[in-house]
């Protein structure tokens, strides 16, 4: 590429349209991509890219380590501790899904086995109290062995079969812990639906980790060790072999890579890390029940990995921060009742603002606002008062709720049931319409769609935050996989034929 001659070869007139032969276009466009990172966050993004990886880790530790100093204990528990938990779980799943390309849907079962394993050896359930330094490694080894057993099937089960076997395994695990609960030594092994309570806290050299701060720092250390370990594993011979296996198992096998052993290794590593997370989680909660290990948790962890970017190390950490913080904001809150409304309208406006060219964004924004007021005026003029007399959920005293009540049609309780159903289905249909038209038609279709989104949000989604979060995870998986499979910070996969 470094052409030293002063007279460049004359370019053919249709150079733009032609494929450049001899230069891999991805490599050739590298500088352009760098230059494109301009704008407000441009320098930060370029600086982040340029800094070496250990510096990034230390930056992360420096920021994460100061969080307990300015956050209350309760906030630290929901925002700090759970983010670290999801990040560590995400890293473990990333080994299996991102590095080795195996769809392991039983991942949460290892998490659960770790938790139950810790509960069995450090509670009054059987009266066994192992020291933490013995129980944590034992739990990791045990979940690793379970992973190995399940991984043995991966030799013959390719792709989808492995996914369904592991999903079935998760289901069997849930049934086993929740309802089967066999009697061993006179006590139900897993305690049935009430689980096992009164677990010992983590205890090292006589110090018990009982406050949220101590637990947070301990879990942060675990996360950093896992990050560093996986970073080196990813750059090692094994990591390269995993990537080869992920891209093309057959070609990898031809290159004398021990495909089956590497698959098992990935599953075992993921399982052991999940088991460790489970044990720590159980110790922090001081109780385990099978409701902690359902499919919903699996989807959250998958969302964490896929949002951040499969196969990258920083991806799951970033994904965990975004997912957990927005998950917590969606919950009904007493101190900031309006915050989810700010988040929602903020996300909509950000979506509009990212449209190109800028006048299209202006048209959509103005159109949506005008459309909303028009619809509201028509409905309140023609229909009965019951169509606009509903109240917004979690209004608080903030102004956003008051404005939206004059913009969004909110029928009262009597009409609510069927209106919610039709509005929701209408929104899904509108989104499908937007997806299938192009150009100015799409811009035009966006106006009623965005308004409908607001209507559905105020009427159906905002009053049911828990289900809303799960719907959003489902949508997130679909949207990311179809629009940006590399996630937030992963690098795009280039197929070189």
């Amino acid at each position: 590429m470094s052409d030293q001659s002063n007279t460049p070869a004359p370019e053919p007139p249709d150079a733009e349209a032609q494929t450049r032969i001899g230069v891999d276009s991805w490599v050739a466009e590298s500088d352009d991509r760098q230059a494109r990172k301009r704008g407000f966050f441009g320098p930060a993004a370029r600086g982040w890219d340029a800094s070496p990886d250990p510096v990034k880790l230390f930056l992360f530790i420096a920021v994460a380590g100061t969080i307990p100093f300015w956050m209350s204990e309760g906030d630290l528990f929901v925002y700090g501790l759970f983010t670290v938990l999801y990040a560590t779980l995400g890293l473990g799943l990333n080994v299996v899904v991102g590095f080795a390309g195996l769809l392991d849907l039983g991942y949460v079962a290892y998490f659960g086995i770790g938790a139950y394993g810790y509960a069995l050896v450090s509670s009054e359930h059987y009266g066994i109290h192992w020291p933490t330094l013995a129980s944590l490694p034992a739990v990791m080894v045990f979940t690793g062995l379970v992973g190995l057993l399940l991984g043995l099937t991966s030799r013959r089960l390719v792709g989808d079969y492995f996914a369904i076997v592991t999903l079935f395994f998760l289901q069997a695990f849930l049934v086993f812990t929740n309802t089967a609960n066999p009697d061993i030594a006179g006590v139900g092994l897993t305690g049935g639906s009430s689980g096992i309570g009164n677990l010992d806290p983590l205890k090292f050299f006589g110090y018990s980790l009982t406050s949220v701060k101590q637990q947070y720092y301990f879990f942060l250390i675990v996360l950093c060790l896992a990050t560093a370990g996986l970073y080196f594993a990813n750059r090692s011979r094994t990591g390269r072999a995993w990537r080869a296996l992920r891209e093309d198992p057959l070609a990898a096998e031809v290159m004398s890579i021990p495909v089956n052993r590497l698959k098992r290794l990935a599953i075992v590593m993921g399982a052991a890390l999940a088991g460790l997370c489970g044990a720590i989680f159980a110790a922090i909660q001081t109780a385990v029940t099978s409701s902690n290990f359902t499919l919903n948790v699996l989807i959250v962890i998958f969302a964490v990995v896929i949002l951040g970017g499969m196969g990258s190390i920083a991806g799951p950490i970033l994904g965990a921060i975004v997912i957990n913080v927005s998950l917590q904001f969606l919950q009904p809150q007493n101190d900031h009742p309006d915050i989810k409304r700010w988040l929602f309208y903020g996300a909509i406006i950000l979506f509009i603002a990212l449209m190109k060219p800028w006048y299209r964004a202006v048209v959509v924004l103005a159109g949506t606002v005008a459309f909303g007021f028009a619809v509201h005026a028509i409905v309140s003029a023609t229909a009965a008062a019951s169509w606009t007399s509903g109240t917004v959920a979690d209004a608080g005293s903030a102004s956003v709720a008051k404005v939206t009540a004059h913009w969004v049609v909110i029928p009262n309780q009597a009409l609510h049931g069927s209106f919610a159903t039709y509005a929701y289905i209408g929104l899904v249909v509108l989104v499908c319409v937007v997806r299938s038209v192009t150009g100015w038609w799409r811009t035009l279709a966006l106006v009623p769609t965005l308004y409908m989104t607001a209507v559905v949000w105020e009427n159906v989604l905002a009053p049911n935050p828990a289900v809303t979060a799960e719907i959003l995870f489902g949508v997130l998986l679909i949207v990311i996989m179809t629009a940006r499979p590399q996630g937030l910070i992963g690098t795009a996969r280039v197929e070189i034929v």
Binding site: F168, Q171, A420, S436, E470, G474
Partner: protein, 330 residues
């Protein structure tokens, strides 16, 4: 010997031949439902090599569509029209609605990923499944709704509605109208499907697309259309199964698609994935295994028994009972 084995032997003794017949009957009815769902899995897998996780949820949506029509007709009690046209209408709407849903899922979730690595559409499928399940949970508030088949279409002083009339009995064990109806409808739909796939031009293009998509499109087959139609038919069968589940067992709830989907997929695998007769056979086997496991071992173990069976099958005969041996081409 383990106490569980004792209890199994006890159960076999105490239930006797009559109990065994009842289990066989329940297993056949359940099995024909699983077979209908398994057909959808196997068709979609055959044509796209994609495990459509959302298929179980399409079945659930079908059950809810049927329930919606039932309530529009003032049902389950005081039906506005006769029971036969009412059930026909429920089937028509549920099958059409789930068919359209299946086509929409294919168009908006799977088609953009035709040439992506295999893990991408799988993750999307999980997303679709989760989206459908929770959307229905949101719109139904997570309640169970009942078709009330015992009283459906009841007239006068009858104790049970026409669906639960005994048609004939075997040694004092009744076989009700709804059980015959479920098995009969399932058999009818399967025969229709087999004829469609083996005798019509569309069936031929479907088989061609499943065999080699690229070559089929070179022969002038609009593969996108064939795939969309396959999704339509598969989802239609699932919708019919949903209504039949409602008529037979009475309840619909947002979570019913997950386990039914898992078991139906197991059925498709045991029969040999991609094989239509295999899916029917596998469905019957799973239905019978589940029914006998519930009767003899206990309800809490039936899922674990099916799971164990599935694992054994995967380890020793991954191509299933009627599947063809897969040859990997390079």
């Amino acid at each position: 010997m383990h106490p569980l084995l004792f209890s199994i032997i006890d159960n076999i003794r105490s239930l006797g031949w009559g109990g065994a017949f009842q289990l066989l009957r329940n297993g056949l009815v359940l099995g024909s439902l699983y077979a209908l769902i398994a057909l959808g899995y196997t068709m979609i897998y055959g044509i796209l090599k994609l495990l459509n996780f959302a298929h179980g949820d399409v079945y659930m949506v079908g059950a809810f569509l049927g329930y919606g029509i039932l309530t529009r007709l003032n049902g389950p009690l005081n039906l506005a029209i006769g029971i036969v046209p009412a059930i026909a209408l429920m089937f028509a709407v549920a099958m059409a609605g789930s068919g359209v849903l299946g086509v929409a899922i294919e168009r908006f979730a799977y088609r953009p990923l035709r040439n992506a690595p295999r893990i991408a559409p799988l993750i999307t499928a999980i997303g679709v499944s989760f989206f459908l399940e929770n959307s229905v949970q949101l719109l139904t508030n997570g309640f169970q709704y009942t078709y009330d088949p015992f009283e459906l279409g009841k007239t006068g002083n009858e104790e049970l509605g026409p669906l639960y009339h005994t048609v004939f009995s075997v040694a004092g064990n009744p076989v009700t109208a709804v059980q015959l109806f479920v098995v009969g409808t399932a058999v009818f739909l399967m025969v229709a499907l087999v004829l469609l796939v083996s005798r019509t031009k569309f069936g031929k293009s479907m088989r061609a697309t499943a065999y080699d998509r690229e070559a089929a499109s070179m022969m002038g087959i609009d593969t996108d259309r064939v795939i969309a139609l396959t999704f339509f038919i598969a989802s239609m069968l699932a919708g019919a199964a949903g209504v039949m589940f409602g008529l037979y067992l009475g309840v619909t709830y947002y979570f019913m698609g997950f386990l039914a989907g898992l078991k139906a997929f197991t059925a498709a695998v045991i029969g040999g994935i991609g094989s239509i007769p295999g899916a029917m056979l596998g469905g019957l086997i799973i239905g019978l295994v589940e029914s006998f496991a519930i009767g003899y071992v206990g309800g809490q173990w039936s899922d674990i028994v099916i799971f164990g069976l599935f694992i054994l099958f995967m380890l020793f005969r991954p191509r299933g009972l009627l599947g063809s041996r897969a040859i990997q081409k390079v």
